[in-house]
């Protein structure tokens, strides 16, 4: 069209709309926009309009996703990096959409994502990871808890077996004092209180009874731990021995949480795969038998394997670190605090005397509460049955 042909209101309106689009795309700054808008509204001929739009790209040229105005590409890279925190399945559906919103909402001349924006994205990623997915495709933390309720009794059983293997071998060699040999069966039973409690918890039908008995056991353990801490000196409840009080407390607490908050043992059995079972068995054996410095090699390898299996593996790692982490790392704190000779004491499994007495008392408490709760439960069901008739 010839430059001297006069423009109409519609032509000028179209030009101002184009200028606004260019501003939104980032080709113009706010001050330039105002200047050019004024010029466009006052343009009498097509020549003047063309000069206003001269250095701007044609409206037909769609922006390629890769070709961006120079100062926005760093911003987009930053956002893509932050969006990598989101789960893969979620990203497949929502990444492009979120990127569009983020780029539109970002201030005009920013080169990097703002601190608040970044923190908000990371927080959002955490929330999305903890939310149940729409069709239940990706197992969330609740499903992982169900798997934990199945696997944790196995782990504690293995560590306890390793724990008693030491005294057992001493007894079989004939090297233990007489009184210990007599009391050994009782001691053995008391050591297995923990695994038995966990097993009882995971059996759904006994859940109510087992929960009450386990609460009693936990309270007893906590009481003794506090007592030993205040008394100082020798270690009645085995706070520093492997398989002792704190480890058992954490395992019991986690199992109770797993049984009450998760979809249940059946779901856990559905989800658990041979890979996870194998890895947790290896982890339990490694944690119970290896010592410095092999632990520093074996544990990271097992963790890496868990992380790489699946998202379920990653959740399992997080949850099982609660009881097993202290089990592995507390001895190192002792080594750091008191030197390496203390670690030998920590690793010793022959520990008759004080811990033995307390373990028997705890076992008796657990069994007593178990029996009383079972009896009351049977009374209750008998009463319900008589009402129903």
């Amino acid at each position: 069209m010839d430059d001297h042909i006069r423009t109409s209101d519609a032509d000028r309106a179209r030009a101002t709309a184009m200028l606004r689009d260019h501003f939104a795309a980032g080709h113009l700054a706010a001050a330039e926009l105002d200047e050019r808008l004024a010029a466009a509204l006052n343009a009498a001929t097509f020549g003047e309009l063309r000069r206003v739009l001269a250095d701007l790209p044609e409206p037909g040229q769609a922006e390629q996703p890769g070709r961006l105005a120079p100062d926005r590409s760093g911003l987009e890279c930053g956002y893509r990096l932050l969006l990598a925190c989101y789960p893969a399945a979620y990203r497949r559906v929502h990444q492009e959409e979120m990127l569009a919103v983020l780029m539109t909402a970002a201030p005009h001349r920013s080169r990097r994502p703002g601190i608040r924006e970044a923190a908000d994205l990371i927080w959002g990623a955490l929330r999305v990871r903890c939310q149940p997915s729409r069709n239940g495709a990706e197992p969330g933390w609740q499903d992982a808890l169900a798997v934990v309720s199945v696997l944790l009794p196995l782990i504690v059983f293995i560590t306890t077996v390793v724990h008693v293997a030491g005294p057992l071998s001493v007894i079989l060699d004939g090297g233990a004092p007489h009184f210990f040999r007599n009391m050994f069966p009782l001691w053995l039973l008391s050591q297995f209180t923990g695994p038995l409690a966990l097993l009882a918890l995971s059996l759904l039908r006994l859940q109510r009874i087992a929960t009450r008995a386990t609460m009693a056991l936990l309270i007893g353990l906590a009481y003794l731990a506090i007592l030993s801490y205040w008394a100082g000196g020798p270690d009645p409840v085995g706070v520093s021995t492997i398989g002792g009080g704190p480890y058992l407390m954490l395992a019991l607490g986690l199992e109770m949480a797993a049984v009450t908050a998760s979809p249940g043992r059946r779901r856990g059995l559905q989800l658990v795969t041979w890979k996870h079972v194998a890895l947790t068995v290896i982890a339990a054996v490694a944690v119970a038998t290896t010592s410095y410095p092999w632990t520093l090699v074996v544990i990271p390898v097992i963790c890496a394997a868990m992380v790489l299996t699946s998202s379920l593996g990653r959740w399992l790692l997080v949850l099982l670190a609660i009881p097993l982490g202290p089990y592995v790392f507390v001895p190192y704190l002792y080594v750091i605090a008191w030197g390496s000779h203390r670690s030998l004491y920590v690793r010793s499994v022959v520990n008759p005397g004080a811990p033995f007495g307390q373990s028997c008392v705890l076992a008796a408490v657990f069994l007593g509460v178990f029996v009383v709760a079972a009896w009351r439960e049977s009374l209750r069901s008998r009463k319900l049955a008589s009402h129903a008739r």
Partner: protein, 110 residues
């Protein structure tokens, strides 16, 4: 039925969608306008809330468009979502009515 009250960002998102299907950035600007600039919704919070609402079947995807070579997805309120918003409004209305009445009695502005 005892259900937990909606958190403010969720409530504002549902209110924004009650006007009609909107895309992410549209919801953000609408929420800023409804709350008179008080609540500034960012993308992370918005999409976490939308994910939750989608799982609970209170919102759903309306359509998708390509604008400026970028994907834009529109969301709309489901009937269940509209009912949920209605219940929340009723709850808040009854509570604020009681508060306003009591303030009037002690001579405050209502």
């Amino acid at each position: 039925m005892t259900e937990l009250p909606l958190r403010e960002p969720t409530f504002l998102i549902l209110t924004a969608l009650a006007a009609g299907p909107q895309h992410g950035y549209g919801i953000m600007t609408d929420v800023a306008q409804i709350s008179e600039g008080r609540v500034r919704l960012r993308a992370g919070t918005l999409y976490a809330a939308l994910n939750r609402l989608d799982t609970d079947h209170l919102v759903e995807v309306d359509r998708e468009e390509i604008v400026d070579a970028r994907l834009r997805r529109y969301y709309r309120l489901t009937p269940a979502g509209a009912r949920r918003l209605q219940r929340e409004v009723e709850r808040m209305r009854s509570t604020t009515a009681v508060a306003a009445q009591r303030l009037k009695l002690i001579g405050g502005t209502s």
